[in-house]
């Protein structure tokens, strides 16, 4: 290093900087040289290895799959690898979950969705030393095609879902190579809360998970959550279809807000503006007036609430129901609660594996319910809360803490995580809610709760155009904006009611999870618009 004269503070700084830069350059050059050397060495090794590798056709990086050939090759599913398949030669496509080389052999854990199996490449007459080395160097999460013999094992492999067999690899080809550095480790992402701290191991925080959602979704927990979520949708559709409901599709770009203008997204719509639907409410009702009798709708719902809580999203999937009834809106409640009970039963009976998988990471009590569903009236809830020392007015809405406390009280007495609260005060409900004929303070409306949190809000709707106008005026709503809605009731409208559920909330609360983002595949909240 050369000595330089120092003339001034600024110059000194500049010198120092350029000195630093120089150093940096030098270092980088050294690094590059080393790297080149290493690569050259590797290439040389590879070449010399290739020359005397008898197994060189049995592994490697084949050309990218561009559909250039149509192989007549059956790929077996990992979950189907059972002792019945013992001693068969099979093909399989899976991800490399982990690999561990040990001298002349290399153990791999191959993963497919939530299932995994142990595989082994060992030097012998099928695999060469070079092939084992190649297998050991495959990066985690790469996708491989493997030809292997299924072998029964003496001792159960506790760490895999397929515990009774392992694979003896004869060929291994990398179909898609993963970059060597992963933004998060899958093992870290499925570690139960608290367990990592004890052992000094890493856990992944939620934002990191969500930033790298594609990788996070590969974990057994995420796989189970979203399979169960799909089950909820399926059970919802099946149950309602069996009850004679018709599935409808409604527009999400609308001209007027349905539930108060405060929490609605405005979008520019050519020369004017429009809103994103807060619920398919008005359209469901118009379908009832159009003689569809019983309808349901599964689709996105938007809420522009700037609340960053564990249970609010700005876009979620709404499961909406609307039906005409004969004489009493309890016909609607019965229909909805029965649908929910069928969903809970379906999950209890058909998704036990998924529930157990999620429980491993996020332990929770099994979801309990009653059949028929427990229905309490608002006044009863008030009495229960007052008995517990809560001071509340007769016509006050339930605050979130009171909602939770009530949930605990109901659970204590009835041991159910699901119940209906009926007869809400009219003042706290939207304008289209039917007032109670016996007590004008109350309304024919109801909420449904899971584990003490609201999942559904519903009511008998006003189906009389005149009363609807009155109620809208009482709520100071611009009649011009909801003209087409009110008009739909002028030409004969049957009495009807309904409600809407948030899919993500239902899944979260059924599984006893603590954040709705865990049950939203690509969550949207005030602070997150990507991925």
């Amino acid at each position: 290093m050369t000595k330089e004269e120092v003339n001034g503070a600024t110059e000194e700084e500049q010198h120092a900087q350029s000195k630093k830069a120089l150093k940096k350059q030098q270092k980088e050059a050294e690094k590059a040289a080393k790297k080149a050397e290493k690569q050259a060495k590797l290439a040389a090794e590879q070449q010399s290895a290739d020359e005397d590798d008898f197994a060189k056709d049995r592994y490697g990086l084949p050309a990218m799959v561009q559909s250039q050939e149509k192989l007549d090759r059956a790929l077996v599913r990992v979950q189907d690898l059972t002792p019945e398949k013992a001693d068969q030669l099979i093909w399989l496509r899976a991800r490399v979950h982990t690999s561990r080389a040990k001298g002349k052999q290399c153990f791999l854990v191959l993963r497919q969705q939530q299932f995994n199996v142990q595989a082994l490449v060992a030097v012998g007459d099928r695999a060469s030393k070079q092939m084992v080395k190649f297998a050991a160097n495959i990066t985690k999460e790469s996708i491989v095609d493997v030809e292997a013999v299924v072998r029964k094992v003496e001792q159960k492999i506790e760490s895999c879902s397929q515990q009774d067999v392992e694979l003896h690899i004869e060929r291994i080809f990398v179909i898609s190579q993963a970059e060597p550095r992963l933004p998060l480790q899958l093992e870290d992402a499925v570690r139960p809360d608290g367990e990592g701290e004890e052992e000094g191991r890493a856990t992944v925080n939620q934002d990191t998970r969500l930033d790298n959602r594609v990788i996070d979704l590969r974990t057994t927990t995420s796989q189970a959550i979203f399979r169960l979520q799909s089950g909820v949708c399926q059970l919802f559709r099946d149950t309602l279809t069996k009850k004679g409901f018709v599935e409808i599709q409604t527009p999400k770009i609308i001209s007027a807000a349905s539930e108060g203008g405060a929490n609605v997204f405005t979008v520019s719509y050519f020369k004017s503006s429009a809103y994103l639907a807060q619920s398919p409410q008005l359209y469901k009702q118009m379908c009832i007036c159009a003689d569809f009798d019983k309808v349901f709708c599964v689709g996105p719902v938007f809420r522009a609430e700037d609340s960053n809580t564990h249970r609010h999203l700005t876009e979620f999937v709404g499961l909406d129901i609307e039906m005409a009834f004969n004489y009493h809106y309890h016909e609607v409640i019965d229909s909805i609660t029965d649908t929910m009970v069928q969903i809970f039963k379906g999950l209890r009976d058909n998704f036990q594996t998924e529930i157990q998988t999620v429980n491993k990471q996020f332990p929770s009590e099994p979801f309990k319910f009653l059949e028929p569903t427990l229905r309490l009236e608002y006044t009863e809830a008030l009495a229960m809360l007052r008995e517990a020392g809560v001071e509340m007015g007769d016509e006050d809405d339930l605050s979130t803490p009171n909602e939770k406390l009530l949930g605990r009280l109901v659970k204590e007495k009835y041991d159910t995580d699901f119940y209906v609260l009926d007869k809400y005060p009219l003042a706290v409900r939207p304008f289209y809610t039917m007032p109670d004929p016996n007590n004008p303070k109350y309304s024919n409306s109801y909420d449904m709760f899971m584990r003490g949190e609201e999942i559904l809000s519903g009511a008998q709707r006003v189906h009389d155009a005149q009363l609807l106008t009155e109620r809208a005026l009482h709520h100071q709503i611009d009649l011009e904006k909801i003209k087409s809605y009110i008009d739909s009731f002028r030409y004969g409208a049957p009495p009807h009611g309904g409600g809407g559920i948030g899919l993500e909330r239902v899944c979260m609360l059924y599984l006893g999870l603590h954040n709705v983002r865990q049950t939203s595949m690509f969550p949207r909240d005030p602070k997150r618009l990507t991925p």
């Binding site: 809970f344 009653l370 059949e371 229905r375 204590e412 009835y414 159910t416």
Partner: protein
């Protein structure tokens, strides 16, 4: 035909009226239907406006239909819970012991059919003011559940003999008045199938019990 004299006041028995349904929740195992409670339910319905509901808890996968309808047909007003004085909510649940929950903030859950029966009976009629008679009633209730329902063949025979001699002294077990002792003993005698081998006084008493319509719901489940 009200068979009990006096009219207990729910406010004094159960505490201040909070303007909402007073709901009694009973968790029972469908493997052991609580016959005495069904009889008491029927008696309560005669005295009060009772909202009766039957639920199945998710811990139980299926329940025979007669257990679902054991509290009789739905009340015509059952959609309006606030119109009733008392709620009788029977939940078929996988519990080791029958339990009752009422005021969860002030009362621990009451375990055992006998104890719940005592609680419900006090809503119908006060216990005899004579402590000897009151203890006698309690004694018969214990005998019914511990020695008849849970006892050996020998114990059962002994109880039947004791019943026979007690019933030789009066029409009902605790003397002149029908009481919880009669309900408990009748249900346990019938449940254990020992009625046919019983002596004359017991046979006569069984007939008198059955003349009261309130034993109907229990008889349905005995078939």
């Amino acid at each position: 035909c009200d068979i009990f004299k006096g009219s207990p006041n729910l406010d004094t028995l159960l505490g201040k009226d909070l303007g909402a349904l007073r709901d009694i929740v009973i968790n029972a195992n469908p493997a052991q239907p609580p016959l005495t409670l069904l009889v008491l339910h029927s008696l309560l319905c005669q005295r009060y406006r009772v909202l009766s509901t039957v639920h199945v808890h998710s811990s139980v996968s299926s329940v025979p239909p007669q257990l679902l309808s054991c509290l009789g047909p739905k009340h015509a007003d059952s959609y309006a819970r606030h119109m009733f004085q008392l709620g009788f909510t029977l939940i078929w649940k996988d519990v080791p012991k029958l339990e009752m929950k009422f005021s969860v903030r002030n009362m621990c859950p009451i375990e055992g059919e006998a104890n719940v029966a005592r609680f419900l009976f006090k809503l119908l009629a006060p216990y005899p003011s004579d402590p000897v008679l009151a203890t006698l009633v309690d004694g018969w209730v214990d005998t019914a559940f511990f020695q008849l329902a849970d006892g050996s063949t020998k114990e059962r025979a002994a109880v039947l003999r004791a019943l026979n001699s007690a019933l030789g002294r009066g029409p009902w077990l605790s003397g002149p008045e029908f009481s919880l002792a009669d309900i408990a003993c009748y249900c346990c005698v019938m449940q254990t199938g020992s009625a046919s081998s019983a002596a004359t006084n017991v046979q006569r008493w069984i007939k008198s019990c059955e003349n009261l319509v309130h034993f109907g719901p229990a008889k349905v489940l005995l078939k």
